[in-house]
Symmetry: C2
Subunit: 498 residues, 2 copies
């Protein structure tokens, strides 16, 4: 057996334990009663230890060395095998580069900080939070330095690499600096324009059962493969499971159906990416989704490019009026639903933000975490910086309001630095795909027709089936003819909101 084959077999074994971990995680969120949590945590921790052990087995270093030699000696080695080897090695390096005692220290500090944060946030308690967070930041900086040294990157670029391989501070600075030149003014203009619009908001009871039935109808329209996936409920919506059995979740508010419905559209985008990954590489790193940002590009393509188009909202209007037997209710009129789904508002909370203000939230987080990890600022500087950037971006202050400021998100509490940019990268990629797609596809007519296959075929050909065969830049260039270009995003936002 060649070392390449040994590695392939090893990573397939790993994927079986990852399958178990994914399903236990989904079950914990979607099914598990409260009493089950201790035994589940123990089981999942044991699996993590085992997965880590398999991921860092000492013989892997030799196997990679020998496999690269084999590749070098074989003229005929397929491009796909080279990509597979590259991605296995990437995962191996990610797993081995950080010493185990640091990983453990981070896990303990992160759990402690996150746990305390749950009540500290309610109490607006920066002083209490800061004491725990100090350690989390210090350990993340240490991790970033170690990763940076191994990869030849700056500390923050090394953290970005975990979620967005190939993305750098330099490229993000360029993209986001551009956005900052036009976004604040665009927001003001749109707010002014929307002032005169009247919207009828849903109210009254929308039963969970009916909302779910409606969600399933919309998933059918989006060609979710129900032989290979399910829709369930959880407190925080997510897309989990494995490519042949994708588990998406949503949460229902019986006072208002619009959020759950669009949430389902979003998660269906994630799901179709997973369902569309190539079976030839099942269980191998090269067969996995390219990155967080590319994953988000699919959910946001579904949510923003398809879901919030007028054509799609005409389907939502019809299907929801049918579901709630409310054909004469003006809430469900296409125009009204479109206004609801494109209403812009300045707010403190990122997860509640609309399409237009969302990038402002992401960019300020990016700037803060970049400087924090690179040691340019200290963790105690964050609340004031947050306030300052929030005022510049959206004109609202978070002074003495950390619970709606820098303490609002869970990500930083356990050291997930480098993750936020993916959201806006995803939105930008989605706009760029749409711009390319419309050169050959009559986008709105296709959606209007109710058979969205041509759109999905494009995504399948260009994104889903490509998995991690190419770098992100290559993937996007092959799909759209250029690497990421924020101009498409601007054009999309201006086209929709002006």
């Amino acid at each position: 057996m060649s070392h390449y084959d040994k590695l392939t077999s090893h990573y397939q074994t790993l994927s079986h334990f990852n399958h178990a971990q994914a399903m236990l995680g989904w079950d914990a969120a979607a099914n598990m009663p409260s009493g089950g949590s201790e035994a589940r945590s123990n089981a999942m921790a044991e699996l993590s230890v085992h997965i880590h052990r398999l991921s860092t087995q000492p013989q892997l270093e030799d196997w990679f060395g020998n496999a690269e030699q084999e590749a070098f000696n074989t003229e005929q080695i397929a491009t796909e095998q080279q990509a597979s080897l590259r991605e296995m090695k990437r995962q191996w390096q990610q797993a081995t580069v950080v010493p185990e005692d640091l990983v453990q220290a981070q896990s303990i500090a992160g759990s402690k900080c996150e746990h305390a944060w749950r009540s500290q946030r309610q109490e607006n308690d920066w002083t209490g939070f800061e004491k725990n967070w100090k350690e989390v930041v210090a350990l993340s900086r240490e991790e970033a330095k170690i990763r940076g040294a191994a990869l030849g990157l700056t500390p923050y670029d090394a953290m970005l690499d975990k979620y967005e391989p190939g993305t750098t501070t330099a490229s993000l600075n360029t993209l986001f600096t551009d956005v900052k030149t036009w976004l604040p003014e665009l927001i003001e203009t749109v707010l002014e324009k929307q002032k005169s619009e009247s919207i009828i908001l849903p109210s009254g009871t929308f039963s969970t059962a009916t909302q779910k039935a409606l969600g399933l109808e919309v998933m059918k329209l989006l060609k979710f493969d129900f032989d290979r996936g399910r829709l369930d409920q959880s407190v925080h919506p997510f897309c989990g499971g494995v490519p042949t059995d994708v588990r998406i979740t949503t949460r229902y508010d019986e006072q208002d159906f619009v959020q759950a419905l669009m949430g389902i559209v979003h998660e269906t985008g994630h799901a179709r990416y997973e369902q569309g990954l190539p079976t030839a590489f099942a269980g191998l790193p090269v067969g996995e989704a390219r990155s967080m940002g590319i994953h988000e590009s699919q959910s946001l393509f579904f949510e923003m490019q398809i879901g919030r188009s007028k054509a799609f909202i005409s389907h939502l209007s019809r299907l929801s009026a049918d579901a709630f037997s409310a054909h004469n209710d003006p809430v469900f009129a296409q125009d009204n639903l479109y206004k609801i789904y494109t209403q812009v508002e300045k707010g403190f909370i990122r997860v509640d933000a609309d399409e237009l203000t969302y990038p402002a939230h992401v960019i300020m987080r990016y700037e803060i975490e970049r400087d924090l990890i690179n040691g340019v600022i200290e963790h105690t500087d964050v609340p004031a910086l947050w306030d300052e950037k929030m005022k510049a971006a959206l004109g609202i202050s978070t002074k003495d309001n950390v619970k709606n400021g820098c303490m609002q998100d869970i990500h930083w509490t356990d050291g997930a630095f480098g993750y936020f940019p993916s959201y806006t990268l995803g939105a930008m990629y989605a706009a760029q795909y749409k711009a390319t797609m419309t050169q050959n596809i009559d986008f709105d007519s296709v959606i209007q027709s109710g058979d969205l296959s041509p759109i999905f075929q494009w995504l399948s050909d260009n994104i889903w089936s490509q998995a991690s065969l190419h770098t992100t830049d290559e993937l996007v260039k092959r799909a759209t003819g250029e690497t990421l270009n924020a101009a498409h995003f601007r054009k999309h936002l201006e086209g929709r909101y002006l």
Copy 2:
């Protein structure tokens, strides 16, 4: 760390992988879409391999030897530790005694036989089945010989030991010979008595949602702990999960609610045993259920002793009439429901059999598999023997009808010999508990009152909390003052049916 502590830690690690396996198995039956099955099978097979590897690690032999020495040297070693050591060693011996190549050969032959049986049974194809089954029987005989040699038991007793440690052919022969002296006549008498009774059978639509709501009400009455468990649906009802998160399932027939309802009562009995196991030994073999038969004694205590009592059926009458808004429908009258749930009928199929004829099915299977594994008969003798025994027990013939004869059950297709007696042992234990319990508890009044706590307290004190601290005989003797005595079972059946 003592070797006893090392073993404890090792078995707790194992329990975490068993947790994963249990939940994946439940999910596969209750949730998984068809497309997920290949990846799930691979993941579960990988987990099985890993669990087997951990269960048979070479150092365990030394650890057990040293731990026994430690126990010998320590006067103060707790009885509970001795029991824990005994049960860990029992599981280790079970896992190591059969050579891996035999396990693998059995797995392949069993899968092949079971797979083909699914269509062969429909086609009444003994000739086809016999070709595959020959190998399964041969390998099971080999397994039985190896186990028997290691344990100093006859081959069939060694197979019994897998499910019912301590139970022997000698004890079963005594119990079942006794039953055979009175059961056939009792069945005839009861059938004659019931001839004149009129029963109104349910018909019409009983929606799955309402049946589930009714099932949940009944589970509440039975004090199922919903913080540590759930009710779901699957094709074959079962009780799965882990003690702090017990997953029971049922299947609903919209034409008739009575089977699903009593099925829920049965599975709730299994569940409460699991939920009542002592947390002090969580994750350790000594903290697990004592045996298949004792497990079945709980489900059958719930189903037969509680569930089919007139007092409990008065609750079922009220709750089901409420659920289906059918207070004037004579189907739901207490007397009628009682007649439905105690109707006796001779039939070919064990899983459809009533309380009274069920033991006849089990005893004939026992006699056949005992002689088959001990080499007294050959696998080709089974259809004729089946026909002969069926005629003796219930007066019906299965000649040229193997699909309703020896090919009706899945158990033998993949070599689960030694398992059938547990069902009737469970029914006998349950009758014996009831006989003891009624010395101090006014059984029917307690049920009638709607607060069944005194009954559950007895089960908790005597069975659930005792887990595997004692041998089965000790457990039953401590609970009832004597080892298993079929007289209680006879008295129960005569009391109910005569």
